[in-house]
């Protein structure tokens, strides 16, 4: 206990250098611009954007906001998938990027939630009415509940539990953040039981998160894929391709962030080429699958000819969206070639992998745009004239501001918590919990509490879902109202309680001997 194990907190935590402040100020300024643009939109309404009505007005009702919302949710894919895969498949090589990836997931989900609110015409009403009236029949229900509450919350719980050991380590060093770390560690003693318990919960949590992830990204694809009135959207391929494109953009952005942090925090020895090799290979495989989807989609739409899908593809390949479409496709191909070439030659370069990641992200953003917009401007089922959509400075500034906000959140995250697992076994150990207190493994009470939390969470979620989803024909006015108001809120709370159950399992206090009990009695 007497030997100070670390002079400073690891990975620059708590050391706010000048460079960091400069970047933070720039990011805050851009966020401020974004806020200003949003204030314009609040005053003028969505008229401040380039959006317009589909049909006679020749516009696009959904534009960049929706495209970027989809993009932000997509990026969140990387973090939690990689963290979960490390847990489930023991991918030791990727362990150093697990925490960075979890951070990316959480930040991007926050941005996605904000993007949805920004897109609403009545943002204040939206927050209340969604909790009050949200209907499971709407694909948006999945976005609001699964993605933004369940997914975000599960990621937070995962990050929290995985970080407790490091928090306990950091809490040993005196400093401004000590209290925060102590709170995070929440009495973590690093005993054998605690470690085993954590391994167990993390494994199950990872197993739970993976299907949640596929469901969440599929729901997002379903927003588009199940609308028969929009040619170009209505496709069974939409949901799986959203999952894959989410992977492309997420892994791509993770590569970029890892490369930046590697330089900024001087982690060259810890983040070696092997990490980039793994991520890069992951990226090219996903990109190849996505290119395959594009080809299948193209052939299906164009083979018969004369269909409305062919009109959309005409606009894409040879019309007003041609430049964006071909730019997107060529960036996908370039990213794929860059990575596949390295794979085939078995020689990897960090710079090239990073470039492939950047390209994949620009391609993903472009692809989101050409999914969302042309089906509205050129995909009307009745012979309206083709429309146009040009985003205004308000939209662009708000989106830029969101990116800056994301960067700001992320760099704050790197300064308050180690971006990599701290312990390396030799000299970094948490002080073993005092054995004198006679720690008793209070197994049964712990398990009982866990099961109670889990079951009450599931019960609440099921009840909330059934109360929110009146079963009956559309013509019944019941169909539009939940059986009781705020049933969706019950559903969301149920999901959150369910996800909290592993926290209960891990944090349930051990009995500290009989002393306390005696005092109480």
């Amino acid at each position: 206990m007497t030997t100070p194990v670390m002079q400073k907190l690891p990975y620059g935590v708590g050391q706010w250098g000048r460079g960091w402040f400069i970047i933070a100020v720039i990011a805050a300024l851009i966020t401020g611009f974004g806020l200003f643009a949003y204030s314009r939109q609040l005053i003028e309404g969505l008229a401040a954007t380039g959006l317009g009505d589909i049909g006679t007005a020749g516009g696009s009702a959904w534009g960049l906001y929706i495209a970027f919302d989809v993009y932000f949710v997509g990026v969140s894919f990387a973090g939690i998938t990689i963290a979960a895969l490390i847990r489930l498949m023991n991918l030791e090589r990727l362990k150093p990027v697990a925490r960075m990836a979890e951070g990316l997931t959480i930040v991007s989900l926050v941005l996605a939630a904000l993007m949805v609110i920004i897109d609403l015409g009545q943002p204040g009403r939206g927050i209340i009415n969604l909790l009050r009236y949200a209907r499971p029949q709407s694909p948006f229900f999945g976005t609001f509940t699964l993605v933004i509450s369940a997914y975000l919350f599960a990621s937070l719980v995962f990050l929290y539990l995985e970080g407790r050991r490091d928090a306990a380590l950091c809490a040993q060093k005196p400093g401004k953040l000590q209290g925060f770390f102590r709170l995070w560690a929440a009495g973590y003693g690093d005993t054998r039981e605690e470690r085993e318990r954590h391994n167990r919960t993390a494994w199950w949590l990872a197993l739970f998160i993976l299907p949640l992830l596929v469901t969440a990204h599929s729901t997002l694809g379903m927003i588009f894929g199940i609308q028969p009135g929009r040619p170009g959207w209505y496709s069974a391929l939409q949901a799986p391709s959203f999952v894959v494109l989410a992977g492309v953009s997420g892994v791509g952005l993770l590569i970029v962030i890892v490369a930046i942090l590697r330089k900024a925090l001087r982690l060259e020895d810890k983040l070696d080429i092997q990490v980039f090799r793994w991520l890069g290979n992951f990226l090219w495989i996903l990109t190849a699958v996505y290119l395959y989807f594009i080809i299948v989609d193209f052939l299906t739409a164009n083979y018969s000819g004369g269909s409305r899908e062919a009109t959309i593809y005409g606009a894409l390949t040879n019309g007003p969206y041609a430049w964006l479409f071909w730019l997107t496709v060529s960036m996908f191909i370039l990213s794929f070639i860059l990575m596949f070439g390295q794979f085939a030659r078995r020689r990897y370069s960090i710079t090239l992998v990073t470039i492939a990641g950047v390209l994949a992200n620009f391609a993903a953003i472009g692809k989101r745009d050409v999914i969302v917009i042309p089906s509205q401007t050129h995909g009307t089922m009745l012979p309206y004239e083709a429309g146009t959509y040009t985003p205004t400075w308000v939209e662009l500034t708000i989106i830029l501001g969101l990116f800056a906000l994301g960067a700001l959140l992320y760099i704050v995250f790197t300064k308050v918590f180690p971006v990599m697992e701290v312990h390396d076994g030799k000299n970094e150990t948490v002080a073993p919990a005092e054995e004198t207190g006679k720690l008793q493994n209070n197994g049964t009470a712990r398990k009982r509490m866990f099961v109670v939390t889990l079951l009450s969470g599931i019960a609440l979620a099921v009840a909330g879902f059934l109360l929110a989803a009146p079963i009956g024909p559309t013509a019944d006015p019941m169909y539009s109202d939940p059986r009781i108001p705020f049933a969706p809120l019950i559903f969301v709370i149920g999901i959150i309680v369910t996800i909290l159950s592993p926290v209960v399992y891990e944090l349930f206090p051990d009995k500290r001997g009989e002393k306390r009990e005696a005092v109480k009695a």
Binding site: G121, G126, G229, L382, P477
Partner: protein, 303 residues
């Protein structure tokens, strides 16, 4: 990386007895079957209405052989519903087909189709867009959150969003000085005109579905003039058509005008192949094909 008890705990190989397997497997199968049943009920499309349904169910029959594209219905709709500039809850297509000199003209009014299986009702996240028992597809403008999902879901493109604060109605700026003078002369009854019936709640659900004052950030569309139906009047477009293109009535009543026409003439519904089952029927002429070109398209700036 050195070993810090981060190793996965060794998983002992466990034998699963047959009884255990049957129990757990059976439970899993039962659970997923229950999930499928509930899911299919929640997300099911409404069944076709039974033939002998009771109560009023409104339907519109549009006789395209009579329509000559004067667009009086569009004008009537705008006056009645105070729709903002560039917004056409009722729209009349003027089509041209073929090549000069063998050109054919045709006209097709396009109100909201008030579908029985409305693509816009299903995805509304808050139930602001809903289907009434009398067949109307209504928009509760006090509940709408402005996500515009109904608009992208509608194959007919009949939705008009209130993108901004409405200052112009009836092509006259409400805040302009000349509007003030008109208001003084007419005592506020003629343009700039505001229909007071649009603001209220409507039975039986007591919801605000007549469009109100076109509040910023909510969706609007044809209401079949629910405020007029409430008083026993016909929708404005029906009442104002000079050549009686429109027939409107209760399709559940076999003696109503619409039922009689639909029995005697061959009718079609717009984009019926999508399974939307509209309440608007067309007789005469043919559905528009992709070869139809629009002439004199009305294109307005939506504020």
């Amino acid at each position: 990386m050195t070993e810090v008890a981060r190793k996965q705990t060794e998983i002992p190989e466990r034998k699963i007895s047959r009884r255990d397997f049957m129990k757990k497997g059976g439970a899993a199968v039962a659970l997923s079957a229950a999930g499928l049943v509930v899911g299919s009920r929640v997300f099911a499309s409404p069944k076709e209405e039974p033939a002998a349904a009771t109560g009023v169910k409104y339907a519109m029959v549009i006789d395209l052989d009579r329509c000559f594209g004067c667009r009086a219905c569009m004008e009537a709709c705008k006056v009645e519903n105070n729709t903002p500039e560039g917004v056409f809850w009722m729209y009349v297509f003027r089509f041209e087909e073929g090549r000069y000199p063998n050109v054919k003209l045709s006209y097709m009014p396009r109100p909201c189709q008030h579908c029985d299986n409305a693509p816009c009702v299903k995805p509304c996240p808050v139930g602001a867009r809903y289907k009434r028992a009398d067949g109307l597809v209504a928009t509760d403008w006090k509940r709408c959150i402005g996500c515009r999902y109904c608009e992208v879901a509608c194959p007919y493109s009949v939705n008009y969003f209130n993108w901004g604060e409405q200052t112009k109605r009836q092509y006259l700026d409400w805040k302009a000085p000349e509007a003030e003078s008109v208001r003084q002369v007419t005592g506020g009854t003629v343009p700039p005109y505001k229909n007071p019936d649009l603001a209220g709640a409507f039975k039986p659900e007591n919801r605000y579905i007549a469009g109100g004052s076109h509040q910023k950030g909510v969706m609007g569309k044809c209401t079949f003039c629910v405020h007029r139906l409430d008083k026993g009047l016909l929708p404005a477009c029906v009442a104002n058509c000079p050549v009686q293109v429109y027939h409107f009535g209760n399709i559940n009543d076999p003696e109503s005008e619409v039922s009689k026409i639909l029995r005697s003439k061959r009718a079609w519904r717009l984009l019926d192949e999508l399974g939307t089952r509209p309440s608007v029927y067309y007789i005469g002429s043919v559905p528009p094909t992709p070869e139809f070109r629009q002439i004199e398209a009305v294109k307005g700036r939506t504020l």
